[in-house]
Amino acid sequence: MKKWLKVVALAILVVFSISVVLVGQMGEKKVQGATNELTFWSWVSDSDTIKQVYEQAIKEFNSTNKYGVKIKAVYTPGEQYKTKLQTAMAANNPPDILNMWAAGKMKPYVDAKKLFPISDIMNKDPQWKNRYVNGVFDLTTFGGKIYGIPQIRVATVIYYNKQIFAKYKLTPPKTWSQLVNVIKVLTKNNIIPFALDARDPWILAMYAEYIANRIDPDAYRKVQKDPNAWTDKAFIETGKKIQELVKLGAFPKGATSLDYVAARNLFDQGKAAMYVMGIWDVGYLSTQSPVKKYVGAFKWPAIEGGKGNINNFLAGIEQVIAVSSNCKNKQAAAAWLKLLSEQRYAKDLIAEKAGYIPSVKVTPDPKKVTKLYLEVLNLLKDQNTKDSFTYYDVMFGPIIGDGFNNTIQSIYLGKDPVEAFKKLAEIAKKEMKK
């Protein structure tokens, strides 16, 4: 019996010592690859035109740079990117250069000192910094330092089908009551006013973010400091306006079982007249959509009595690239980022070929871009940057931001706005105390 016990004890000892050694090694595994190779992790997929921009810039950089380094890109599209990045970060084995989110989604990485403040190098190179449009770095700046470089600017507008509007003698509404009138005319003629995918809460949230801004742009600033401000009149009123839209029949029936593409299909088929979405859809709407000839865009209407201006945009930045604080050659990484801001990438590829609005100042050739692109660019010209705001889930991070999106979804489904926002305020209070 004793012998038996000994054997078991021995076996356990062997198992644990080996596993401890193995686990220890896993943690200590250092960054692989040669020292003159910089890894770049990106979430873009093959269908993203931005990938061509990256690929081409890497090719050019690898054959011409004076640092003797090579950049190697690893693409992990979709949700997997997030999991992969977090695992790598937790194991302290991050890539040298990486795609990043902005604002609230970037902050945890900055707080944990995982990112290198690129402004340290940028400030010595004003010619590089001046290439960018004013304000694009606002959402990647923390403590006065810039931690990431956005490639494109985004904003949300209302697209509309000009043919349908003409048929019912409608004009793009400038005020809430005009919008209500447009909705009424459309529903009377059996046309869905807004193509909406209510399954993804962030899409519905864009409506709410605009409405809240039109009622009181200060509300957005207040909640950044005071979680109790989520119960402000502006937000409650926003909730009521969302429910008013539902009651008016502004959204398709069964919107909760529509996904992004299914909702857009309603617009494509001419069943829906309007469609609220970011300008990342300009490329699709002006080249592939069956109604591409009739798509126009207008600004979110003002609300009578509200303090918000029609020129405040729900806008942000995307395709941010950051340099990790572990990066082996920060100068080389910065040089590659600078290369990406060259006109030939920004203007030729991002603007004219992909139909995005670059973060770099460019004037695309009007003959090479679509009519819708110019129309949207024209809208953004009047942008009032002071009261413009960004996507709440980006701004406030995954807990409060997504909490807001879900709050709006529950209001859409009929929950009392006062109750819903009270709950959000509690979530925010708990989160901000940390």
Partner: protein
């Protein structure tokens, strides 16, 4: 040879590689997940020890509590749908002679499709505008019965039906095998004694296939407890968390909200519940079997 097997050290040496691998792959991650549940951690900043704080937070979170309820609902509905329908199909199929293979395969096919494919397929079936169900209702003049099938009211039912469609063929095959294995003598004796139809099924067939039924019930329950794929693909736990299950809750907190501690606490809870339920079913069912 006999000597070698009598030697405990030799046994230990032979078992060690498998034991090490097993420990590394199964118990260690489970223990690690429990360990993580005692911390607050977003995978970036340093871990802070909070004791059982995460568990307290978990059970005061209304969404988590409702996710437990949804999981129970799905489990019960899956049991009802899959066991009864599977048994019914099995009984029908063993009694037909022509085209048996065809029906067997037809019902089994959904099982070889990936959950992602099925999720997307049924997402369209449930679509309000052009979905199969509403289209059929419309074409036979039952417009008033058209529903938003993935709305808060019906979403759990809709998901359970999809899962039933996916798995019923699998359970049916299990039952067919078991029924075919019943000794012909027993059946004939029962016929002589006057057992027919429903009586035959309830008094003879079901008791005879009880071990297989037990396996299938355990499979359905443990499968439902970790119900994730359909809910995530079709509704992402929505609308407004109406189809949030324990597994989607774990995914959301750990990977979307970066609350790894809370997610680990929820998965530890799920682990304990799964073990408990499996043990209970096996105990309960084993005792009942002794009677026969």
């Amino acid at each position: 040879m006999e000597k070698a097997f009598g030697n405990k050290l030799a046994i230990a040496i032979f078992i060690a590689p498998a034991l090490i691998l097993f420990t590394l792959v199964i118990p260690l991650p489970i223990l690690h997940s429990f360990y993580m549940s005692l911390f607050k951690w977003d995978m970036l900043s340093t871990m802070t020890y909070v004791g059982f704080e995460n568990y307290k937070e978990l059970f005061s979170d209304g969404i988590f509590l409702s996710s437990i309820w949804h999981t129970i609902e799905i489990t019960v509905l899956s049991l009802i749908f899959q066991v009864t329908l599977g048994l019914f199909l099995a009984l029908c199929i063993v009694n037909i002679t022509k085209g048996r293979k065809y029906f067997q395969n037809a019902f089994f096919i959904p099982n070889i499709l990936s959950s992602a494919v099925i999720g997307i397929l049924w997402f369209f079936v449930y679509n309000y505008d052009f979905g199969l169900i509403n289209s059929i209702l419309k074409s036979i003049g039952l417009d008033s019965l058209q529903q938003e099938w993935l709305s808060q009211k019906y979403v759990i039912l809709a998901l359970s039906i999809t899962t039933c469609w996916q798995w019923v063929g699998y359970h049916m095959i299990l039952y067919i095998a078991a029924i075919s294995g019943i000794s012909q003598d027993i059946i004939e004796a029962a016929i002589v004694d006057g057992a027919q139809g429903l009586k035959m099924v309830t008094k003879i067939i079901i008791p005879q296939i009880r071990p297989v039924l037990r396996v299938s019930i355990v499979l359905i329950i443990t499968g439902s407890l970790k119900y994730f794929d359909m809910a995530w693909i079709m509704t992402e736990g929505g609308p407004d968390f109406a189809s949030e299950t324990i597994a989607t809750y774990i995914y959301r907190t750990a990977f979307n909200k970066l609350q790894y501690g809370l997610g680990s606490a929820a998965s530890t809870f799920l682990f304990v519940v799964s073990i408990l339920v499996t043990v209970l079913i096996n105990r309960f069912a084993a005792k009942r079997e002794e009677v026969y």
